[in-house]
């Protein structure tokens, strides 16, 4: 598939394949209304009900082609296969901390790559307005930071193991409670 499969040619000024970041994600992109895409669409087709759609779909004009989508899918496929393979690593390479540690690292890296491939291309995050990117990334960062801190506060920085408290007595397990209702 080539780039002309999309209707990009219609917009003339934009080259869909080249550095989409620059055209939509640059400084002025946040205040998207003045972007040239909108102007051109409105100017080219003043009479259509593309009034509804013109600017709304502005983001897609730089979107990948079908072929690119398939490429990304195969990359994702391969990455997932690699992920699944880590499950068998211990049987292939023998058990051991090193294997496990490498496996976990690889898994986390692949997870992040897959995450951003899907978000960036399938969800058009790379090509869309900077605002949605920031909204979404902000949510992700808040989620990651607060839950990481909360989990560490619960499991790592606890008092059970406080240096001065050499040998804390074993916890008194709670008494089991009677069957409710």
């Amino acid at each position: 598939m080539n780039e002309n499969d999309t209707d990009a040619g219609h917009f003339g000024k934009e080259d869909p394949g080249s550095e989409p970041e620059k055209s939509s994600g640059g400084e002025s992109a946040v205040a998207a209304p003045p972007s040239p895409v909108v102007a051109s669409s409105a100017g080219d087709d003043p009479d259509v009900d593309g009034r509804h759609m013109g600017h709304l779909d502005a983001g897609h004009t730089h979107g990948p082609t079908d072929g690119q989508y398939f490429t990304i899918f195969w990359v994702l496929f391969a990455l997932t296969a690699l992920e699944v393979s880590t499950y068998f690593w211990e049987s292939w390479f023998g058990e051991g901390d090193a294997v496990r540690r490498v496996g976990v690292t690889v898994l986390l890296i692949i997870m992040v790559i897959k995450f951003f491939l899907i978000a960036g291309f399938f969800m058009h995050l790379r090509f869309d307005s900077a605002l949605v990117r920031r909204v979404f990334i902000f949510g992700l960062i808040v989620a990651m930071v607060i839950y990481t801190v909360a989990m560490s506060a619960m499991n790592i920085w606890t008092d059970n193991g406080n240096p001065w408290f050499d040998d804390p007595p074993p916890p008194i397990t709670t008494t089991t409670v009677p069957e409710a209702n």
């Binding site: 209707d7 909360a150 506060a153 619960m154 920085w157």
Partner: protein
């Protein structure tokens, strides 16, 4: 973009909208825009805002009554007016009512009413979703309060620490209503928060850049963003609690490995931003009122906005300061203690900026201004006591004592509520077309300030003397007698001031009916866009959209300044404001479906608590609501406005209605998402 018009040769005729789609449903489309019925189907952000306000004031009376019960019980040592169990229910319900049923919806009321007006829009981004959030919240709130009829209210404290909130230790249904009720209200708040966030991003009038938005709009906007990110966290916690209580899961059952800290963290990750959710809108209101009555612009607008953002941002990093005594370990305590101390900085900037705004001004002491100044004075006290327990070792002495009660009432009453009252007096003419009586208003103000300080001031001392929170009684020998009695007297003074406020509302209305006086569009000589339009606000908000060229656009159309920077009038107000009586403006059509959808949720709630089969009718109603909603166009095709062809400027399709219509199927499905997401409430546990 012509893509839409290109026809594929394979396209089926069925893809062609030959006739405008008709609403499929059991109801005919509601048409009324006035009369009592219209309130149930309205999608008008102003009516929705007013309903939020009225409902939350009614709940304010409920919460206030609970507060009086608490104060009566504690007036003398060893009192047995309330049993320990009833007292636990009353203080829990008092807290929950005041937070979720009064302060949050009151800020919603102002945000709903004012956000579109202040950014010059005709409505919010999704008018029907707006109605949905009102009804979901209101019915959820009523559902929550019906717990009194089913064996008693929630009695685990508003923070509901596990495992005490579990079924083993709190076997009644109160905590079930807590979990399910808050989940239902959370759906309403999430929908509303997303809606208003999008409104602020997207619906601004030409020229209204983010840094030209009034401070109230900014603060309400930050509040919505905080809600968007905080609510899912409490949703998780509440689901875990609900599964524990209703389906025998063991998330907080220590004998199965559950960890009570999980609840604490999840709750306070939500709970701390929640504090700013309650206080920031009031900061915004004050930032509107003080400049108007000082005849000066707000001092340091970018710093006001920036400090609001900073507060919102830092609010995420300090939740564990509610847990200094929980034993989470010195490293966590140290980190959160230091983070907490510095949140005082942006708050201090705000207070100093308000004072700088007043400095050199020409102050008019209307009731609204008095309340705003009182907020500055009272919130300072709450803020300072806050700093004293940001210091973690000190906090281990102060936390869970009445010192904390004093602190957060100075923040939430002396901050949030005084600000909201200020806003009520300020925007009342805009909302209802007549003033509240100023004389009665001043009685209200002074009694409230005296009562408030008499109630909560002594609690500082009680707390330092060691009186703990959530205690249903105290003993004669503990030395708490005097100040408790003073606090009780103060509480009743407060109650009297609220009665005066209610009388004021009724009295002003009667006087207005007998002898209507038009307050005019701009009764206070104010600054932001909502004062350019007639009072009460016409249904269409703006007859023509305002093109904004600077911050305080309306003010600058009225006033310029001379070489010294002193104020000079350049235009008469009458010439600047918009004239009433515009016609032919297309507005979003009313709809039944938000109400229908919302009715189903409490029924599902009862089903979850008592018998899963009872959830079926509720689920069916909700699904019917979603179905009707999706099938109903956002705009009534029979509404008489062929707006697509209509090029007249008065029917400028910039209006919200037009926008949502512009992507009508998109909107419908998007709303379906949220609605369907709401549906998880009943689906997840069943499935």
């Amino acid at each position: 973009m012509t893509i839409v018009h290109q026809r594929s040769p394979l396209e089926l005729p069925s893809g062609e909208p030959l006739t405008p789609p008709k609403p499929l449903g059991v109801f005919s489309r509601p048409k009324a825009t006035s009369g009592w019925k219209s309130w149930f189907t309205t999608v008008d952000h102003k009516k929705i805002g007013i309903m939020y306000g009225v409902a939350s004031m009614l709940f304010f009376l409920v919460g206030g009554f609970e507060a009086l019960l608490i104060r009566l019980q504690l007036a003398v040592p060893g009192n047995d007016l309330l049993s320990a169990d009833l007292y636990n229910q009353v203080f829990t319900m008092h807290g929950l009512t005041m937070i979720f049923l009064v302060v949050m919806p009151l800020q919603s009321a102002f945000a709903n009413y004012l956000l579109p007006l202040q950014i010059g829009a005709r409505d919010v981004a999704f008018p029907r979703m707006n109605a949905l959030s009102l009804w979901v919240w209101l019915l959820g709130a009523i559902f929550f309060n019906t717990s009194w009829l089913f064996g008693g209210g929630a009695n685990g404290g508003w923070f509901a620490y596990a495992p005490n909130s579990g079924v083993a230790f709190t076997p009644g249904h109160g905590m079930d209503f807590y979990a399910v009720g808050l989940l239902i209200m959370g759906i309403g708040s999430t929908v509303s928060a997303i809606n208003l966030t999008v409104t602020v991003f997207n619906m601004r009038t030409p020229g209204m850049s983010m840094m030209r938005m009034p401070v109230f709009t900014w603060m309400a906007f930050i509040t919505q963003v905080l809600l968007v990110f905080a609510l899912p966290v409490i949703t998780v916690a509440l689901f875990l609690l609900m599964f524990d209580r209703l389906f025998d899961a063991s998330f907080f059952d220590v004998s199965k490995g559950g960890d009570p800290f999980l609840w604490e963290h999840l709750f306070w990750i939500f709970g701390h931003p929640e504090v700013y959710i309650m206080i920031l809108p009031s900061f915004g209101i004050v930032s509107e009122v003080i400049p108007v009555f000082s005849r000066k612009p707000i001092f340091g607008y970018p710093f006001m906005v920036g400090s609001g953002i900073a507060i919102g941002f830092m609010g995420w990093g300090v939740w564990a300061h509610h847990m200094f005594a929980s034993g989470m370990g010195p490293i966590s305590v140290l980190a959160f203690s230091l983070a907490t101390m510095f949140i005082a900085v942006p708050t201090g900037v705000k207070i100093l900026n308000w004072m700088a705004t007043m400095y050199g001004g020409r102050l008019r002491f209307t009731t609204a201004m008095l309340f705003s100044i009182a907020l500055v004075a009272m919130f300072t006290i709450g803020g300072l006591s806050g700093v004293t327990h940001a210091v973690a070792p000190a906090d281990t002495q102060q936390t869970d004592t009445y010192y904390i009660i004093a602190h957060f009432h100075y923040v939430l009453f002396g901050g949030a509520l005084l600000g909201l009252f200020s806003g009520m007096y300020f925007w009342y003419p805009k909302m209802f077309g007549h003033f509240l009586n100023e004389r009665l208003g001043k009685w209200h103000f002074w009694l409230m300030i005296i009562g408030f300080n008499a109630t909560f001031g002594p609690m500082h001392m009680l707390g330092l003397q060691g009186m703990m929170r959530r205690t249903y009684t105290y003993t004669d020998g503990q030395g708490f007698n005097v100040w408790n009695l003073v606090a009780t007297i103060g509480a009743f003074t407060l109650a009297v001031s609220i009665l005066i406020f209610m009388y004021n509302v009724a009295h002003s209305y009667r006087k207005h009916k007998a002898n209507p006086v038009d307050p005019g569009p701009d009764p206070w000589d104010a600054r932001s866009l909502e004062w350019m339009i007639p009072s009460p606000t016409p249904e269409y908000n703006f007859a023509e959209l305002v093109v904004v060229e600077e911050f305080d656009e309306f003010w600058h159309r009225k006033y310029g300044h001379d070489e010294e920077g002193r104020l000079v009038r350049i235009a008469k107000t009458e010439d600047v404001v918009q004239k009433p009586g515009a016609t032919g403006i297309h507005l979003p059509s009313p709809s039944y479906w938000p109400l229908v959808l919302a009715v189903g949720l409490p029924l599902v709630g009862y089903g979850l608590i008592f018998n899963l089969w009872w959830a079926v009718p509720g689920a069916l109603i909700t699904i019917m609501g979603i179905f009707g909603w999706v099938m109903e166009p956002a705009d009534d095709p029979d509404g008489g406005h062929e707006h697509h062809e209509d090029e007249s400027p008065s029917d400028d399709p910039e209006a919200a209605a037009e926008l949502t219509d512009g992507a009508e199927s998109g909107e419908a499905s998007d709303e379906e998402t949220v609605a369907a997401d709401a549906e998880q409430t009943e689906e997840a546990p069943v499935g």
